[in-house]
């Protein structure tokens, strides 16, 4: 009497939800066992981590504002990546495109930040970032449609070119290099003028909502509508499903690929502009790995725009929370979040398997006729 795996016909929504929530919980439990083994009370640790230390904290609103600052670039990047992934263009160059966007908006901020009115310089920053990132993404797309190169390798390599370009800017003390702080003898990025800062909206007595949050929500809604209802969105899903069918239907596949990748990379540039605009300074770690984490988020959410918000919120809580918790639990490094993130991804993929298959027991047949 053996067990074997059988394909499921369909899996009701509640069952799927249970499986995914179960996967996340299981990841937390496994993480808890690890915590126990190094002598940390997992319940205390998790309480601190998942609340990001906000309970009973006088400056909880600051924590939450910082949390949103982290969340916005991740959400926009994940949504942007999902756009390309939907077309089966494996853009893993989010990091590079983000950096190019950041450099472009830094360029605008440092060059004209003092001269132009704030709203104008912010808009130019966003546009410049989108153009720079979009064109940077277009390189890989162009090579793909022209020479059918592998976009995964191309975008990956372009990440390192972008990163080293940024490092070059950060280290090279020259007259032309206005990215650096002139007053400092040591090479160090210059801060933007106080007039280049993403504006905030005051809600209540203390809380200030950064305008980038609104931008992120807006991008989410627009991309959702774009993919679901527009002709261009329709073209993207047909190409993602079958390139043969798309060209057979008379679509200009090459142009659509170029267009979509540009759009995807440009949105990543927008995320970079938001990040730079709130930070007010460039840095070599400006991306905070959103180009990578965004890939995980997009896949956890199965490219579903709505769920991307949920998944990135969760991932951000893990990252921010583990940093907060690390200050009160010295044994646990803040990288614990990475481990938990990996566990969640693994187990959600496993849950995925169970939404499509189930385990069944083999029965013996009745021997009634032969």
């Amino acid at each position: 009497m053996g067990f074997h795996i059988v394909k499921r016909d369909n899996c009701p929504l509640w069952q799927k939800c249970c499986l995914y929530i179960g996967a996340v919980l299981l990841a937390v439990v496994i993480g808890g066992i690890v915590l126990l083994s190094i002598g940390v009370n997992p319940i205390k640790y998790y309480t601190r981590m998942f609340t990001m230390g906000m309970i009973g904290n006088r400056i909880a609103h600051v924590t939450f504002m910082n949390y949103l600052k982290k969340l916005v670039p991740l959400v926009i990047t994940s949504i942007a990546l999902s756009l390309a992934f939907k077309m089966r263009f494996w853009n893993i160059g989010g990091e590079g495109q983000f950096i190019m966007g950041a450099i472009a908006s830094g360029f605008v901020a440092l060059k004209w930040g003092n001269v132009l009115p704030m709203w104008l310089s912010l808009i130019i920053m966003c546009v410049a970032a989108m153009l720079a990132a979009g064109l940077y993404g277009l390189i890989a797309a162009w090579f793909k449609v022209r020479f059918s190169t592998n976009e995964t390798l191309m975008t990956l390599m372009l990440n390192y070119i972008a990163l080293h370009f940024l490092m070059f800017l950060s280290e090279r003390k020259e007259d032309w290099n206005f990215f650096l702080d002139e007053t400092s003898a040591r090479p160090k990025f210059a801060s933007f003028s106080q007039f280049v800062k993403m504006p905030t909206i005051k809600i209540g007595a203390k809380f200030e909502l950064n305008i980038c949050v609104i931008i992120a929500v807006l991008v989410g809604v627009l991309v959702f509508l774009y993919l679901k209802y527009t002709k261009q969105g329709y073209e993207i899903s047909v190409i993602g499903d079958s390139v043969g069918t798309a060209s057979y239907a008379g679509m200009n596949v090459k142009r659509i690929i170029l267009r979509t990748v540009f759009l995807s990379a440009a949105l990543i540039g927008l995320a970079a502009a938001c990040r730079v605009g709130t930070a007010g300074i460039l840095s070599t770690s400006i991306t905070e790995d959103v180009g990578w984490t965004g890939i995980i988020v997009a896949w956890l959410a199965k490219l579903n725009t709505g769920i991307i918000f949920l998944a990135s919120a969760l991932i951000c809580v893990l990252q921010q929370g583990s940093e907060v918790a690390a200050s009160s639990f010295s044994q646990v490094s803040s990288s614990f979040a990475n481990m938990l993130q990996g566990l969640i991804l693994f187990l959600v993929l496993a849950a995925d398997f169970f939404t499509r298959f189930r385990i069944a027991r083999a029965k013996k047949g009745e021997k009634n006729n032969g």
Partner: protein, 543 residues
């Protein structure tokens, strides 16, 4: 996995000679989700017997055989081999019990030679010199009357050579029970005859053979007994000598079916699509279509016959504008269509539907719903940036109703539909667009009798409406009954155009292999060039 090996000696019912059956399957049930692929199936094969397994598409033939070859495990039921109950957990187990399966899609390594493909899967290969291996294989092949060059690389082989290799492979592993899944689907008439004589030889040697096929004439020709499945259920087993095609069809379909294909006589128009001296390259840059000329009139079905892969796909793609042509001319109603984009050709009313081997590759987006697939060719027509799903839904409902598509809803992804319904959706959409030339390749590929006849009816309906149809087909019997004229290709060369009611299967078979060239049969009229051609009209227009 200790129980894997267990072989319980159970006394099974013996056949009349007092011998055990080579294979006995009892009460086999297998489900995939809520789909019941096999339900209480019983099957017996003796040694030295050819059993034909007959059933419509989706009746569970392949599933049943996959349980013998260790790919699936039955949910219920037991399998006996030579009288002892066995549990086949993997393809290795299956090999151990002497079962060999030749799959419909060959499982060979392209860059290996025939000998390497065979030796790769041997249980105890040992140290055998290459030459000895080659002579061992040659010796085995010749005992059964196969011709096989062990040194030849698979990518240089024709389809029939690949199939020979697959059969020799399972024989080499010592298989006593051989299962062939639709072996004749890709062969020419002559090759089929050769295969059958080899099968008879194997039968004389005492092998048990199970052959899956759709073609009733082959069943009558080769088998000793016929087992019939319908919708996963076991219907009966009959002796071939005591039955006929009509009866078998009734068992298979469950009701009386008229096996004749209509060929309505329709008044034809001047040529709608004319192709002259067309040369096309394939993906590798080799010549796929070599100097081919033909024409299609409105109100006629022109069949394209040829061995698989002799340029049919490239021809269809070139007409649809998906593949650049090397030289030659294509005119549609007097207008040149060479160099137009697929979209422009579509707008001229030329529809192409190609059903590839996996049945989903071209023409449909498998993960998208029927509604979205309906929109594929006309989503641009409405104004504004948004897709008009309302009209797509209406079209989808219409096609579902007209062509009796079986689907839970219009929002079901196309890949969840069964093969016949997928093809109905594809053809339905093409016809909906109101084309004047339909190019259709393998529209009944893998379909059961009912669905096939429905597709023939659809095509005939189009023909009577004055549409010109180019029908690329596989089954010569069908083509001879359905088409008005048949053009035959061999390695991309035109071998002639014949009238379907005047030709014979043998003649077509010879033309397909290149042994007979009827291109210049009539001195005054070369094949494929119409007397009332529209060539010249185009120049007149331009002047």
């Amino acid at each position: 996995m200790a129980n894997k090996q267990h072989m319980v000696q159970v006394q099974t019912e013996n056949n009349e000679n007092g011998q055990n059956y080579a294979i006995e399957m009892r009460g086999i049930t297998k489900t995939f989700g809520s789909v019941v692929a096999n339900k209480g199936v019983n099957l017996t094969v003796k040694s030295g017997e050819i059993l034909a397994l007959l059933g419509e598409n989706g009746s569970g033939k392949t599933t049943l055989m996959n349980m013998l070859s260790g790919i699936y495990k039955p949910d219920e039921g037991s399998i006996f081999i030579n009288g002892s109950e066995v549990s086949i957990d993997s393809p290795e187990d299956s090999k151990k019990y002497g079962i060999g399966m030749v799959h419909q899609h060959f499982k060979l390594v392209d860059v290996f030679s025939a000998a390497d493909n065979i030796w790769m899967g041997r249980e105890n290969p040992g140290f055998v010199l290459k030459n000895e291996r080659h002579s061992a294989i040659e010796a085995l092949a010749s005992t059964f009357g196969f011709e096989l060059d062990p040194r030849k690389k698979v990518y240089n082989m024709s389809v029939s050579e690949k199939q020979t290799l697959e059969i020799v492979k399972v024989l080499c592993y010592g298989a006593k029970i051989i299962i062939l899944d639709e072996p004749t689907a890709v062969l020419t008439v002559q090759e089929i005859e050769k295969l059958f004589s080899v099968l008879r030889r194997m039968k004389e040697e005492g092998h048990a053979i199970i052959i899956i096929t759709h073609k009733l004439n082959e069943v009558m020709d080769i088998s000793d007994r016929v087992a019939i499945l319908r919708k996963g259920e076991y219907i009966t087993t009959v002796n071939t000598s005591e039955t006929n095609e009509q009866e078998l069809t009734e068992y298979m379909v469950g009701r009386k079916v008229d096996l004749n294909i209509d060929r309505p006589v329709v008044e034809t128009t001047r040529p709608l699509l004319e192709v002259r001296d067309l040369c096309i390259n394939n993906d590798e840059g080799a010549t796929a279509i070599d100097n081919v000329s033909f024409y299609i009139r409105g109100g006629e079905i022109l069949g394209v016959a040829g061995i698989a892969g002799c340029g049919q796909k490239e021809l269809c793609e070139a007409i649809a504008g998906l593949r650049p042509i090397k030289s030659g001319q294509m005119i549609h109603k007097g207008d040149n269509i060479v160099g137009l984009s697929p979209k422009q050709i579509l707008e001229k009313g030329i529809s192409m539907s190609f059903v590839p081997e996996d049945r989903l590759g071209m023409g449909l987006a498998p993960s998208m719903s029927i509604v979205d697939n309906m929109l594929l060719k006309n989503y641009r027509d409405c104004k504004g940036p948004f897709v008009d799903r309302k009209s797509g839904r209406a079209d989808a409902m219409q096609v579902i109703k007209d062509l009796e598509v079986v689907t839970p809803s219009a929002d079901t992804p196309v890949r969840r539909l069964s093969g016949g319904n997928v093809q109905k959706v594809l053809l339905g959409r093409e016809i909906k667009a109101g084309p004047n030339v339909i190019v259709t390749a393998y529209p009944v590929r893998g379909l059961d009798i009912n669905s096939s006849y429905m597709i023939y009816d659809i095509l005939n309906k189009q023909k009577t409406d004055g549409v010109g149809v180019l029908f690329v087909g596989e089954d010569l019997d069908v083509m001879m009954a359905l088409c008005d004229k048949i053009m035959v290709l061999c390695h991309g060369k035109l071998m002639g155009v014949v009238h379907a009611h005047k030709t014979t299967k043998e003649e077509l078979g010879l033309m397909m292999t290149g042994a007979l060239d009827l291109k210049d049969k009539y001195e005054d009229k070369p094949a494929g060039i119409a007397k009332d051609t529209r060539f010249g009209e185009q120049e007149a227009k331009e002047a």
